[in-house]
């Protein structure tokens, strides 16, 4: 920092860079990386009795940190060295996380492409497919249908309940709101197997309902409802209070205000909440495992008979010793992931806006209406 400013000093003052990367940092880190690579290779592969790629990477990374510290210490003072090291550690963590997800998605996509590349995977069920049948027979149509039906039913149950609970917490509140919020928090982290066990104990063992897609959708409801509630509550809170007051001032009652003002204003966020809940629900395995039963055939009726779904399909076939069965499981995993990705992308796409913020098309429509009625009307948007 240059000192207190006179007019002359002010001109020569330079903006202080607080973070960021310049040439020196890059060359320091690159040098440390190369040095560490050579050193690790020498020690790890040649001198010490060690082997294995994973261990090599760990040693290389640690060596890299030490060397970076050494090189940096030669040119900068201690504070900046610490800053650079933290930058390196934190950045590599971020890289690891991104790398993990890319690796995971990529690996499942590559392994799954083999079976998913055959059209019969999406048009047949597994009824006539034996363990050693070739990949051109059998598919996951029954699982896709089952997954969609169970997800649809669970959404039907979870969404009204979840949004109503969210509206309760934010619009009515009172003494009960806080405990409800705490319980919802706890429910979000409910182990999924316990949800399955609960439905197994109540619906199937006590009420005597057969294992079916319906029972599975009830278990999914228990998992999805708190997610929807939490996400919905956050967006409903963002609705400006002035809108509510305007509605009350016009003489609207509370339920009219909520239905006509609060919920429509929060619509994009609510859709996001619902879609996120669905993305979570469609991949849940353990509740379905206990409640839906397994069948290799097609069963489009969720209310009677066992019904398979994608996670259950994967769980079942991945444990076969036959490579084609495993390939089918991977293809089902790919399908499931595409489904989750699609739901997730939808949520991001819709949820990008704040409550009350209009989409580009809505803004254009308003502009058109304004132009149609009054050419002198002031235009709000650019």
């Amino acid at each position: 920092m240059s000192g207190h400013s006179t007019a002359a000093a002010e001109r020569s003052e330079q903006r202080v860079r607080l973070g960021g990367i310049d040439r020196e940092v890059v060359s320091t880190i690159a040098g440390a990386g190369c040095g560490s690579l050579a050193l690790t290779w020498l020690l790890y592969e040649r001198v010490l009795p060690l082997s294995g790629a994973f261990g090599f990477l760990v040693c290389w990374y640690l060596g890299c940190l030490v060397l970076t510290w050494g090189i940096a210490r030669l040119q900068w003072d201690r504070r900046i060295v610490r800053e650079r090291l933290v930058q390196l550690v934190v950045g590599s963590s971020g890289l690891v996380v991104v790398g993990l997800i890319v690796d995971q998605v990529g690996y499942v996509a590559i392994r799954g492409a083999h079976a998913a590349g055959h059209l019969n995977f999406f048009t047949q069920d597994m009824l006539k497919t034996a363990t050693l049948s070739p990949i051109t027979s059998g598919g996951a149509l029954n699982a896709v249908v089952g997954s969609l039906e169970q997800l649809g039913l669970a959404t039907l149950f979870a969404v009204p309940l979840g949004i109503a609970a969210a509206v309760f917490m934010s619009e009515i509140g009172g003494r009960l709101a806080r405990p409800v919020r705490t319980v919802v928090e706890a429910m979000t982290a409910l182990p999924s197997i316990v949800a399955g066990l609960f439905i197994l104990g109540v619906v199937i063992l006590t009420l005597g309902v057969q294992k079916s897609g319906f029972a599975a959708s009830l278990a999914l409801t228990v998992m999805m409802m708190p997610i929807v509630t939490r996400a919905a509550e956050v967006v409903i809170r963002l609705v400006p209070g002035t809108l509510r007051e305007a509605s009350y001032a016009l003489g609207a009652s509370q339920w009219r205000t909520v239905l006509n003002v609060v919920l429509p204003t929060a619509r994009p966020g609510l859709v996001t909440a619902v879609v996120l809940g669905m993305a979570r629900g469609v991949g849940e395995t353990s509740p379905i495992l206990l409640t839906s039963g397994f069948t290799s055939g097609m069963n489009a009726n969720p209310f009677s008979g066992h019904q398979v779904s994608l996670p259950l399909y994967i769980w079942n076939y991945v444990r076969y010793p036959a490579p084609d069965m495993v390939a089918r499981a991977f293809a089902a995993a790919l399908t499931l992931m595409v489904l989750v990705l699609a739901l997730f992308a939808t949520a991001r796409f819709i949820g990008g806006r704040r409550p009350g913020e209009l989409s580009r098309r809505q803004r254009r429509r308003i502009a058109r209406d304004l132009l149609g009625t009054d050419h002198n009307a002031p235009m709000e948007e650019k």
């Binding site: 261990g55 504070r79 996380v97 309760f168 999924s192 316990v194 991949g283 997730f344």
Partner: protein, 336 residues
């Protein structure tokens, strides 16, 4: 929001004797019904949680009666002969969760600092989406990836761990000899896979807390000549401490309850784990997933009882986490 449906009015004039007019908002029948419905929806979460506890207890009663207190001290799981307990599966599950935490916490917290503070502003949104996406990936996909991708690749490292550090650190020793199968299904590998599942949860929760750190204090730190790390250490981390602890505990709860990935990796055993790299592990949730097909009532009842213990444990952990997140300064801004 408060209880009243009408916004409060402030008295406009200021003569001394003026008393504010009492405002009573008449609640219409429609509103009364509306509030009733919403209140019922809000209370339904208590009902669901209560029913879960009640039915697990009700269904598990038979098992509790058959074993008594030895349910908590017996390691074996032989439901046919009535000798069973969770003394092995419960600690084993906790060990898997702890392994997962040891791996996940450093990575997740540093990644959260990166996303919230260090990442270039333009890619920050993308990173946030990626982490959230990682949290949304189904656990069975993690399980597949762990079983087919990670397991074969990590065995070399596990072998190295057991051969070299294992000579000096007892719990890393593998006593079954140096054959390929003595490394593959260990609590360590299961914990590694579970750690990948809780990394995104811890990352995204703590990133959110970090990003709420007050701007004014950040600028104050910079104005005092702090580097970015100095700012993070003196402003962001203290601000987010409660949130971080809460996020880690939530991750622990998730790791305890994780079923499918664990069940795919482990080979079940019923003794308490003392050497985390050795083959064989167990947890309550994977025990349930692998054994629920047994049809006799006592076996099912035993699983229900085990489920109840898991439920109670995760509930306590999660409630503690929620309280910690809520009590911390970081939560104060968002609570009510």
């Amino acid at each position: 929001m408060t209880d009243t449906s009408a916004p409060p009015l402030t008295p406009s004039a200021d003569p001394a004797g003026d008393v504010p007019r009492r405002i009573t908002a008449p609640v219409s029948t429609g509103d009364r019904i509306f509030r009733g419905v919403l209140r019922a929806a809000g209370l339904s979460v208590f009902l669901i949680m209560g029913l879960i506890a009640f039915f697990l207890l009700y269904r598990g009663m038979q098992a509790f009666r058959a074993t008594g207190w030895s349910f908590f001290t017996q390691q074996k799981w032989l439901t046919e002969s009535g000798v069973f307990g969770i003394a092995a599966v419960l600690p084993d599950g906790i060990i898997i969760a702890l392994v997962a935490l040891v791996i996940a916490v450093p990575v997740a917290l540093t990644a959260a600092v990166f996303v919230a503070e260090y990442a270039p502003y333009r890619v920050r949104g993308l990173l946030v989406s990626l982490v959230d996406l990682m949290a949304a990936i189904p656990s069975i996909v993690y399980g597949l990836w762990g079983l087919f991708f990670l397991q074969p690749r990590i065995v070399g490292f596990v072998r190295w761990l057991s051969m070299h550090p294992g000579q000096y650190i007892p719990f890393l020793k593998v006593r079954t000899g140096d054959i390929g199968t003595s490394y593959t299904s260990s609590p360590f590998i299961a914990g590694t896979v579970v750690s990948l599942m809780i990394i995104p949860i811890i990352t995204s929760l703590s990133r959110e807390v970090f990003s709420q750190a007050p701007q004014g204090e950040r600028e104050a730190a910079y104005a005092l000549g702090s580097t970015r790390w100095g700012m993070v250490r003196s402003v962001v981390l203290p601000f987010g401490r409660g949130g971080m602890i809460g996020a880690v505990m939530l991750g622990f709860g998730r790791a305890m309850g994780e079923t499918i990935a664990v069940a795919l990796i482990i080979s079940p055993k019923f003794t308490v784990t003392t050497h985390i790299l050795e083959d064989g592990a167990n947890s309550i949730s994977s025990l349930i997933a692998l054994r629920f097909g047994e049809s006799d009532p006592l076996s099912l009842s035993a699983l229900m009882a085990a489920g109840l213990v898991l439920f109670a444990l995760t509930l306590v952990v999660n409630m503690l986490a929620a309280v910690l997140i809520g009590r911390s300064r970081s939560g104060a801004a968002t609570a009510d």
